[in-house]
């Protein structure tokens, strides 16, 4: 249970006059209701020093959601309304620090001195946005070649819980050359939290990192504040300091689970998979904070949505997929015994803005052709499973697929984009005739011919 230190409470009491209520009418698992007047919607309050937020007002009956739960709350608890929505102090002092879901330091350091900003602020006017156009190079060909990322994009990893998504995400973050990396950890284990901390420290990147963490040891509903905290900090650096900010959100499935807990306790009618009917809007409000500002700053969001048994039709990944600009799938390729970025199910919607423009002109066709041939190999595999003979072409696609997987799809690749494209050409030339690849004749002439196995 979270207790606030007195100094913090003092600082949160922004107005001089503070009425203390001591009569609660009704208490449920997550909420309490009391008579109070002049209260604003979504205003924060303290109930016996526990943080709470106004979720409903009916006449003078105010319902508060207590983030850490109502266990042990008496009907005569002290309720103090704070006169504002949840806030975060923003300044350059945030850099290198670790905070909890309320934006309070958990690294033993001092409070951050800065402007108090309400989290979950207004949306960017769409006509003021700039079209994202800066490529984010990660060195991983499964991403750079097939699913190129762009600043201002929002994209999740769809992964089963046993996959190394946090490792891949940390690797992407460190290679991405962002000015700031902001980690929003929701319901992550303490081990994972320490993993991130170590990786960032070892990379010497700690000054660029800001973390807001709610671990499995904390109450689940507190998680709901984490992404807004992280994104509010991101907006400060991107909009006011014109920096490129990368926000990592893991695990959004646990965030959505917390939403469903709240909506259930508020007696809302659940829609698909027991999720609240507003799940799409709730998730969109967060993901849409990804933006390229006209002044040069940007917010890029890379998230993790864990799946249960790879099921992407579940409401959480499904709604996420409709909001985000693509998704990255990890898969273990048994042929090469490594984890790869699945080329079929992964997609970066914004790649069209940079491939063939910021990268070599043959990039788009080479990418598509390789994936198509990889799909042919998958069909050939099905043939084997069904006990049929393979044609010569089938055999060649299968050899191609194995090498493609090893040299380009595996997540342990770290090469330049031009090298990735050249590697693909080499594989085409090794296994196929130009008619079989179907690439535009001019491109074969210009780029394909020189990339034989021996060059």
């Amino acid at each position: 249970m979270l207790k606030l230190n007195k100094a913090k409470i003092k600082r949160m009491e922004t107005t001089a006059f503070q009425k203390i209520h001591t009569k609660i009418d009704q208490i449920t698992k997550a909420t309490c209701t009391l008579h109070a007047s002049g209260i604003g919607n979504e205003e924060m309050a303290l109930v016996n020093d526990r943080l709470a937020q106004v979720v409903k007002i009916e006449g003078d009956l105010v319902t508060l959601q207590i983030f850490s739960g109502t266990e042990g709350i008496p009907t005569n608890a002290e309720v103090v309304f704070l006169g504002h929505a949840p806030q975060l102090a923003v300044s350059d002092e945030l850099s290198g620090r670790f905070f909890n879901a309320y934006g309070q330091p958990i690294d033993g350091g001092p409070e951050v001195d800065g402007n108090m900003v309400e989290i979950g602020g207004p949306s960017v006017n769409p006509v003021r946005r700039k079209q994202p156009s800066e490529l984010i190079a990660t060195g991983i060909a499964g991403i750079d070649l097939n699913n190129t990322l762009v600043t201002g994009q929002k994209i999740p990893f769809f992964a089963d819980p046993d996959q190394p998504y946090n490792q891949v995400m940390a690797m992407v973050a460190l290679r991405a050359k962002a000015d700031k990396i902001i980690l929003g950890g929701m319901g992550i284990t303490n081990d994972d939290y320490l993993f991130f901390k170590n990786v960032f420290e070892n990379a010497g990147a700690i000054d660029r990192i800001i973390s807001f963490v709610n671990t499995t040891e904390n109450p689940p509903v507190e998680r709901l504040l984490v992404p807004d905290m992280a994104l509010t900090a991101a907006e400060y650096f991107a909009a006011e300091k014109n920096q490129s900010v990368l926000v990592l959100l893991t695990d959004m499935t646990l965030y959505a689970d917390a939403l469903s807990i709240v909506s259930n306790r508020m007696d809302q009618i659940p829609s698909k998979d027991s999720m609240p009917g507003s799940l799409y809007s709730d998730l969109a409000k967060l993901y849409e904070k990804a933006v390229q500002f006209p002044e040069g700053g940007s917010i890029t969001i890379i998230a993790v949505t864990t799946l249960s048994g790879g099921d992407i039709t579940h409401a959480i990944p499904d709604n996420t997929g409709y909001i985000t600009e693509g998704q990255l799938f990890l898969r273990k390729d048994t042929d090469i015994g490594k984890v790869i970025i699945d080329p079929f199910r992964s997609l970066s919607r914004l790649k069209q803005l940079v491939i063939g423009k910021k990268t070599r002109e043959d990039h788009p066709q080479v990418m598509n052709t390789a994936i198509r041939l990889y799909a042919d190999a998958a069909n050939a595999k099905t043939k084997i499973e069904n006990g049929f003979d393979l044609t010569d072409y089938d055999k060649r696609t299968m050899s191609f697929a194995k090498e493609y997987s090893e040299k380009l799809l595996a997540i342990d690749i770290n090469i330049e984009i031009d090298t990735m494209i050249d590697t693909a050409w080499k594989l085409f030339n090794k296994y196929f005739s130009p008619a079989e690849t179907g690439i535009k004749a001019e491109l074969v002439e210009k780029y394909g011919k020189q990339n034989t196995e021996n060059t």
């Binding site: 002049g38 207004p122 829609s271 009917g277 409000k285 849409e288 994936i371 043939k383 179907g438």
Partner: protein, 590 residues
């Protein structure tokens, strides 16, 4: 005296207001929130209470705040200056707003109040007119924008005064009309109309018949849509709904495109903002943005305004239709609109229908689709609103309520397939599962026989049949094995693959392939069908696959070349040579 009230309850964006006078359902009101006015709409009325949905975040709102009712429903402001504007869901001009972030209560005027327009009268003094009659026109971008008798005027009027040619501002009086009782009514270039009510100032709405060219082969050549028709595109995420919609916006043969970006990604709208001012409209030679109006209520904008946005867009489309123009209205995505309805219905604690959607969802959807159509105006001219909506089925399941309800309302069904998208066969429209009801309309068949080709519809049906047979052959091959079926199964399958690769698949990012004029589509279709009629002879099944791959490769090179150019013809003759290698009977190639 306008009705006023006081806020007495707040549940997210549903606000309960104690009122002191009469209020009507769907009436617009403004909440006074610390000096900022928040727009809201009445969605339910209790004894003394009005339940209103606020088109803004209600954070910080307190009980006791004053509310003013306006006495009218949500209205669109209609007049010259709508073209190439970017509006929010309530038709506020996004470009006029200050700052990078949207501020609560920043309500900007949709039109340019001080801009001068060159007005030319069309009606004369003494003319008998009625709602929707053309009084005059101004040139807006390149469209002759008609100034009409306001749609809200009922009965017959006589033109008493009309301005001469000259420069006027939108709110200047341009005509005075006299009704049957001798009362005078001033008319300016601006009128207002409640968005949830269809504009019905046309004479007749026949069954649509006029082919609407989109340049997208899988639509035009297999599942054509008509001017004034309706269609919908359901598809799981990642199957290319948005790319397809953008292609329609760029290429479709329409005078004006109205886009309702309804609860979708902001970056997709930004793409339009960024690209359309640069892209040329091949029909007018002007920039695409000049024929486009965008209603942007992206997914992070207030949810109640999302519901309004599709109605605002439809009303604007109907307004321009009354000027005798061809409008294409695209809404991406209608599922987000349905979800907005669900959120409010849930907050009002209505009994839910399937998947917690409101019970009347199918009725709301079909009423909306019914507003599209081809019309004869009272002056004999024609106009049309063609509506294509996308649907984002939850979990990719086409049995969910929004898809089901839309299927009953829309006449064309463009089914995006996950399998096709996975194997990068774009556009991922499944030509066999998709349908166009217009192919059954005798009016349509007659029309395309005259304008496109006498055998156009026959060719479509033939191509579909080849695709179906190819699919069957493929299944057999998969069950029995490559050598377990007669060789001609492979041939049947590969002939369907030719249609797939040459007609269905289209590279939306290639300059030439992105848009195919109907002449070229016709040519390629004839070529592909002639090939399908050709009999080939193969020694064994292993020959079939590489042979047809060569054919497909040359066909694709043709698709990438300028129509009838040297290069195109070179590939064409290369194709002839390949066909000759294995063809049994020489078939004449047109």
């Amino acid at each position: 005296m306008a009705t006023t009230g006081k806020v007495s309850g707040i549940i997210a964006n549903l606000v309960i207001v104690k009122v002191d006078g009469p209020v009507s359902q769907n009436e617009i009101c403004y909440i006074n929130h610390v000096g900022v006015k928040l727009m809201a709409e009445v969605i339910r009325i209790g004894s003394k209470n009005a339940y209103i949905q606020v088109f803004e975040s209600t954070r910080g709102l307190k009980t006791g705040s004053g509310v003013e009712f306006t006495g009218h429903m949500l209205e669109a402001t209609l007049g010259p200056g709508i073209l190439s504007k970017n509006f929010d869901g309530l038709q506020h001009d996004l470009d006029k707003m200050d700052g990078i972030f949207l501020q609560k209560g920043d309500y900007t005027h949709p039109l340019e109040v001080d801009k001068l327009w060159s007005f030319k009268p069309l009606a004369k003094i003494g003319d008998e007119v009625e709602a929707g009659s053309w009084l005059g026109e101004v040139t807006e971008n390149w469209i002759p924008h008609k100034i009409m008798v306001p749609f809200a005027f009922t009965g017959d009027f006589k033109v008493k005064e009309i301005n001469a040619v000259g420069e006027y501002k939108i709110y200047d009086t341009i005509a005075v009309l006299e009704d049957k009782n001798g009362q005078e009514h001033k008319v300016s270039m601006v009128q207002r109309w409640p968005v949830k009510i269809p504009i019905r100032t046309f004479k007749e709405k026949p069954r649509p018949f006029d082919f609407l060219e989109t340049g997208i082969r899988v639509i035009d050549s297999l599942n054509p849509i008509v001017e004034g028709g309706t269609g919908f595109i359901p598809g799981p995420f990642g199957t290319g709904k948005t790319v397809l919609q953008h292609a329609l916006m760029k290429q479709a043969e329409a005078d004006m495109i109205v886009v309702a970006a309804c609860g979708e990604r902001a970056n997709e709208v930004v793409e339009i903002f960024a690209e359309f001012p640069k892209l040329d409209d091949p029909r007018t030679g002007r920039k695409l943005m000049e024929r486009t109006t965008i209603i942007a209520n992206t997914s992070n904008m207030p949810v109640a305004a999302r519901e309004a946005s599709v109605y605002t867009a439809m009303t604007i489309a109907e307004y321009y239709r009354s000027m005798g123009l061809k409008i294409l209205l695209l809404a991406d995505s209608t599922s987000r609109w349905a979800q907005a309805l669900r959120e409010m219905s849930n907050r009002m604690e209505e009994l839910p229908g399937p998947d917690a959607f409101p019970m009347d969802l199918p009725a709301i959807i079909s009423n909306f689709y019914a507003r599209a159509g081809f019309v004869y105006l009272t002056n004999g001219k024609t106009g049309s609103v063609t509506f294509i909506g996308t649907v984002s089925p939850a979990g990719g399941n086409l049995k969910e309520p929004v898809t089901e309800a839309t299927k009953k309302a829309a006449r064309c069904f463009y089914s995006l397939s996950q399998n096709r998208a996975d194997s990068k066969r774009y556009p991922a429209i499944d030509a066999v599962d998709s349908y166009s009801k217009y192919l059954e309309y005798p009016e349509f068949i007659e029309f395309v026989e005259k304008t496109v080709a006498p055998n156009w519809v026959d060719n479509i049906l033939k191509a579909k049949n080849i695709l179906i047979r190819g699919r069957e052959a493929y299944e057999q091959i998969n069950i029995l094995g490559d050598d377990g079926v007669p060789i001609n199964y492979h041939e049947i399958f590969w002939k369907s693959e030719i249609i797939d690769f040459v007609i269905l698949q289209q590279d939306a990012f290639d300059k030439i392939d992105a848009s195919t004029p109907i002449e070229r589509q016709k040519y390629m279709m004839e070529k592909v069908l002639a090939l399908a009629d050709t009999h080939f002879e193969f020694e064994n099944f292993e020959e079939v696959n590489p042979y047809f791959k060569r054919i497909i490769n040359v066909f694709k090179q043709m698709n990438y070349s300028e129509f009838q150019s040297e290069k195109f013809k070179k590939f064409e003759s290369e194709l002839q040579d390949i066909v000759k290698e294995k063809a049994v009977v020489e078939v004449e190639q047109s």
